[in-house]
Amino acid sequence: MTALSMAAQSGGNTSARTVPWRRMAWVTGRQHRSTLTGVVAVLGVASVYLYFTGEQLRHQGFVSYGAGPGLSLTAALFQVIAPLLGAFVGAPVLARELETGTFRFTWTQGFGRARWAVAMLAPLAVGVAVLAGAFGFLFSWCYGPQIDGQYVLSPLAGTTFDLRGITLAAWSLVAFAIGVVAGILIRRVVPAMFATLVAWGGLAVATGALLRRHYESPIVTNKLTLPPGAWVKSQQWTRDGKPVSLSTVDQVLRQIGATQNAPGHLSQIPGSGSGIKGNTSPAQYLLHHGFTQLVTYQPASRFWPFQWIEGGWLLALSLLLMGTAVWLVHRRAA
């Protein structure tokens, strides 16, 4: 008997072999069949709505904002897509295994637990990103011309920025990754889903309110008219290089029967009747009296750079979170 046949007989050669990756495709597909069907169904219905709305808007020539299908309402509604993908697809992946105890079965099979986690997460993450990305481009197709052509709101404003281009895919991916990590840390499906919604919401609000405006240095101008679609961050009247308070500006304006009720909002005093004296606009009047208005804004032309910056760091964060989840599966004691 040769050494080779002895080794084969003893079964000692199995130690170097591992179960091929492709075998997990069926497992992942089978276990998430119903979830993915649900996601495709919901996004499908929304897509049909977007398609017909887009056709209708093209037919009308995008003339009437506000009439017909409301952009703001639709956009607000679609904001839930990413967090719901995170809660319903991401959170259960590991939490269900842990909650039902089936991880004791799955993680002790020949495939190996860390590889199992990678083979489970990678296709789902790609699936989520592709579906959300496709939907994001459909949304861009539907409302993009209305937003970019009429500038009813800045393309950079939070209402639609994270639904267009690549950011919906990125925000959905990060929601999925948050869900996965919440799942293994909390180990129960429903609490993990809630945690995902809260964590994602916090990240999205913080990004919109604090982070996005700093992707590039804002432009500061003293011009009274801004390029269309500018995303204004602050307005401030100054005199001799120093900021002037609201009440000072208001006092000056009252001499011509106008008022400033909020930064940038100059108007006739309500009920004064006689109109603004001197037949001049309140802003022009202020300029003639040595005031300068400084406006800080991000121009609409930065839409795509901002898309890539936001998409980029969200992708990096998602990969970091999913890597953490795989490490936790590998390390975590049962």
């Binding site: 079964g11 199995t14 130690s15 072999r17 591992t18 179960v19 075998r23 997990m24 069926w26 497992v27 089978r30 276990q31 039902t100 105890g101 089936t102 991880f103 004791r104 079965f105 799955t106 993680w107 002790t108 099979q109 020949g110 495939f111 190996g112 199992w116 390390r331 004691a333 049962a334």
Partner: protein
Amino acid sequence: MNVIEATGLGKRYGSTWALRECSLAIPDGHVAALVGPNGAGKTTLLNLAVGLTTPSAGTVTVLGGAPAGSPAARDGIAFVAQDAPLHKNLSVADMLHLTRNLNLRFDQGYATARLGELGIPPDRKAGKLSGGQQAQLALTLALSRRPRLLVLDEPMASLDPLARHDFMATVMAAMADDGVSVLLSSHALAELERVADYLVILSRGSVQVSGEVDDLLACHRVVSGPDAEADPYVEHLDVVHALHSKAQTHLLIRTDRRIEPVPPRWKARPVSLEELALAYLRESDASSLPGPMRFQHAEPTEMAR
């Protein structure tokens, strides 16, 4: 070859040790029973052996030296956890397919035949099966992987007597046909008496007794006699557990003599596995029981023989 070998093994959860200074070696070819009160560390020891948990101290190897949880160890060990967790929303056929996809070996013919004998329909959802059928399905999935070691955590806990019998019959058939070694934890001492030929008793996170059942039974006796004469006699004995009833004393003793000579009016008789296990479980204070069957720190060569 030892199917499992632990040296100074410990597992800590927070500040409490579920398992501490645990050393044992179980040779292959046995049905080894792991016995101990709740919280003694049985499940922890099994989780360590199958690689679900990592040790806080010491080492554990399986199948003749493979680190627990390594690819070779996973490949050669099939584990059925307590309550036989299965994907309840998958059909029986899907569970077979899933297990086949997750392992290098899967004996589809055996699995199908076995489920046919048991009358488990392949299109039924796993969650819709009875408790006994779920346990049998989990066991069938495990045995279809053609493991060298089958690890069962409380396999009989939730089964009725008939299902217990059928379950252990399947295990014993696999043992006879393929020579698979078995390590199982259980509270069902009476059932173990029929199947186990190796016994490990865990107490408060460490090994109290470890050895082949025949050896253990051979070196333990129950001696009974009048209370009044117990004290002087006991001094010469290695008593595990003493029981008094109606002016009689029953002593479970360790002895290396084949026939225990007893004083007049005293009787000696062999001990059953259940009696032996109960005696040790009652006397869990290991420090009061220095004796031949206390596991001594491993001489690996001795163990391997």
